[in-house]
């Protein structure tokens, strides 16, 4: 490589920039003192405080549940949408559907959040349902925007799938639904898992939309964290951050290792994951 000094240095600086704050977070979660200035000794007391805080734990549990349900709903809807957009040739409203499902990807959170809240309020005054905002409304909102991401992931995998595999199944006597469950689904399964994980993470991480559509008593973890950090440094948040980073790091490393190993196993035509 010609410019062999520039690129590695620039890249390393970039990576350092990306990771330095995170690493400092992790380091100071073990700091005895509350301050981010002085290292006063190793301590896990903030972790203890974290686990003793009912508000945090309750919010965490709520967030996990909401994320799991929303991701699942988003997976079903997103997959249906992806199938419609890739496998069905032309149908009325195709461009409308494609537009509607990709808009949440670029629309600012505040607009999505506001619009959904106003919808729920209007629906409540017209039909009496949903009665007040809470877990249900958060799930509905999260499913909607997560669905957009699932569609993108599944759509790109479906587009790569060799059509002749599905045709071969039909030729051998399988009607379209059978083809989907016997052939399509097993082959795109890794994309479905990615889609679910993506929806789960986005839901878990969402602050703005949840703030708009949640109700009393249904505070999600990001909402609780936000109110804490608005006021300043909060070391138990550091502890939480470290835990989350640890779990995520493990997951991502595991996924990468699996993917690298899978690639060496060889691939037949029409099967890429």
């Amino acid at each position: 490589m010609r410019r062999s000094w520039f690129l590695p240095i620039a890249a390393s600086l970039g990576f350092a920039f990306l990771y330095a704050p995170i690493i400092s977070l992790v380091v100071f979660s073990f700091n005895e003192s509350r301050l981010v200035t002085v290292w006063s000794g190793f301590s896990t007391k903030w972790y203890g405080e974290l686990f003793a805080d009912p508000q945090m734990l309750g919010a965490a549990w709520l967030s996990l549940q909401v994320a799991a349900v929303s991701a699942s709903i988003a997976l079903v809807l997103g997959t249906l949408c992806a199938v419609a957009l890739t496998r069905f040739r032309r149908f009325r409203g195709r461009t409308a559907l494609a537009g509607m499902v990709s808009a949440p990807l670029v629309m600012p959170d505040v607009i999505t959040g506001l619009s959904l809240l106003l919808l729920f309020v209007t629906m409540e005054s017209l039909f009496g349902w949903p009665a007040g905002r809470g877990t249900l409304t958060i799930i509905l909102a999260h499913s909607t925007f997560a669905m957009a991401y699932v569609t993108v992931v599944v759509q790109s995998r479906l587009a790569d799938l060799d059509l002749s595999l599905e045709e071969a199944a039909m030729d051998l006597g399988a009607p379209p639904i059978r083809v989907f469950f016997d052939i399509t689904l097993p082959i795109i399964a890794p994309a479905l898992v990615s889609g679910w994980l993506l929806g789960f993470t986005l839901s878990l991480d969402d602050l703005v939309i949840a703030s708009f559509v949640s109700g009393p008593g249904s505070s999600t973890l990001p909402m609780v964290i936000f109110s804490k950090i608005r006021l300043g440094v909060s070391p138990d948040v550091n502890a939480l951050a470290t835990i989350i980073i640890g779990v995520v790091a493990l997951g991502v490393v595991a996924a990468t290792v699996l993917q690298m190993r899978g690639r060496n196993g060889g691939r037949a035509k029409g099967a890429r994951a």
Binding site: D162, S164, L165, E167, A168, D171, L172, A268, G270
Partner: protein
């Protein structure tokens, strides 16, 4: 490879006016938007045939095949298989199976599961499925490969699994889309032989789509040459090769030398053509449907022409030229000869003598001759 006589090839049902065709394609047209992929094609295929649809890309052969399989619906026209009208019948309800060009083996299933898939769709009892799968594995000589996955097989093995899978349900009609395209030359020759043998043994009607004319010639009982969505010619391999009905067919199959000329004599038992391109008169030893002064073409194949140092006897079908290039291919030599008129022709000669010292060399002036009955007169 010498082709063994086949069942349909022996009985030749297409020559029998009272024979009932197994597949009736009637005036079928397929349009994709403005593009006409298949244009008013009518075709009869008989039971037990190994019929080849031969054509270049864009000829419509694959579209026609897909319509037979049910993946496309004709814009107009009908397709009948074994007396049943297939209009509106979905692919999973047809007595037809297809072997795909990419083999389309299900990557997440083993060889056995792939082959069994079609049988499972028919809800056959497990034991019966097992027996049938074993039967097919031994037919394609892959008995020990049942548990393997497609990515663990070689290209030739995958092809055999695809064939076994397509034959599992004992279809009345088997469609093959470029079955030998992905194989290397040696494997292709072996597999051609295997394919014909299997077809003979089982008596299944095969329709093969290919762009490789050698493949078509060696496999087929009859060939249907397609060009731009239409059938250019249907016939047995000998007919298509020796008696092409148009310049397109003559040029498409094998190589050919084409001379343009004007009819000078048009009689019931012979035709004489004056050709400036050939630089001589062309004498055809049979009557041709044409008129005096008509412009037409004469096609003569490279292997039908002989080269001489001295002028042979005769007043037609003899011309002069210079040897521009000789390509030595081992089993034969290809001579490129420039005639006096400036036209280049191809002449092939089998190398029946090893290292012939007296053989024709580069830059020699030679006389070129052919027999009056060896060429074809083409009016289109």
């Amino acid at each position: 490879m010498a082709k063994k006589p086949q069942i349909a090839a022996e009985t030749r049902p297409w020559r029998d006016p009272s024979a009932k065709p197994f597949v009736k394609i009637r005036d079928v047209t397929k349009k994709f938007g403005d593009v006409q992929a298949v244009n008013h094609v009518s075709l009869d295929i008989y039971k037990g045939e190994l019929f080849c649809l031969l054509g270049g890309s864009g000829s419509g052969k694959s579209t026609l095949l897909r319509m037979l399989a049910g993946f496309e619906a004709p814009t107009a026209g009908t397709i009948e298989i074994d007396g049943q009208d297939m209009t509106g019948v979905a692919p999973y309800n047809r007595p037809v199976n297809m072997m795909f060009q990419s083999y389309a083996l299900f990557p997440h299933m083993s060889v056995k599961q792939n082959i069994a898939y079609g049988l499972k769709r028919d809800h056959l009892p497990k034991a019966e499925i097992g027996d049938r799968v074993a039967e097919l594995l031994s037919l394609v000589k892959l008995q020990d490969y049942g548990k393997r996955r497609p990515h663990q097989l070689s290209g030739g093995q995958r092809q055999r699994v695809a064939l076994a899978r397509a034959l599992a349900k004992r279809p009345k009609l088997l469609l093959l889309d470029e079955p030998l395209g992905a194989l290397d030359k040696k494997l292709r020759e072996e597999t051609q032989f295997e394919l014909v043998k299997i077809q003979e043994t089982l008596g299944v009607t095969f329709i093969v789509v290919t762009h490789d004319q050698e493949e078509a010639m060696s496999l087929a009982t009859r060939i249907g040459v397609m060009n731009q969505g239409e059938i250019a010619m249907i016939g047995e391999p000998t007919e298509v090769y020796e008696f092409p009905n148009s310049r397109f067919v003559a040029g498409f199959i094998g190589s050919v030398n084409m001379f343009e000329g004007v009819v000078t004599e048009d009689e019931a038992d012979h035709v004489r053509i004056r050709s400036a391109e050939a630089g001589c008169d062309i004498f055809v030893d049979h009557g041709v449907d044409c008129a005096p002064d008509q412009v037409l073409w004469y096609a003569i194949r490279p292997e039908k022409i002989t080269l001489h140092r001295e002028r042979p006897e005769g007043d037609a079908n003899i011309t002069r030229g210079m040897v521009e290039d000789i390509a030595y291919l081992g089993d034969m030599s290809v001579f490129q000869i420039m005639l006096g008129s400036g036209k280049r022709i191809r002449v092939t000669k089998a190398n029946s003598l090893r290292g012939d010292p007296d053989g024709i060399k580069w830059d020699e002036e030679v006389y070129v001759q052919w027999n009056g009955g060896s060429g074809s007169v083409l009016t289109v």
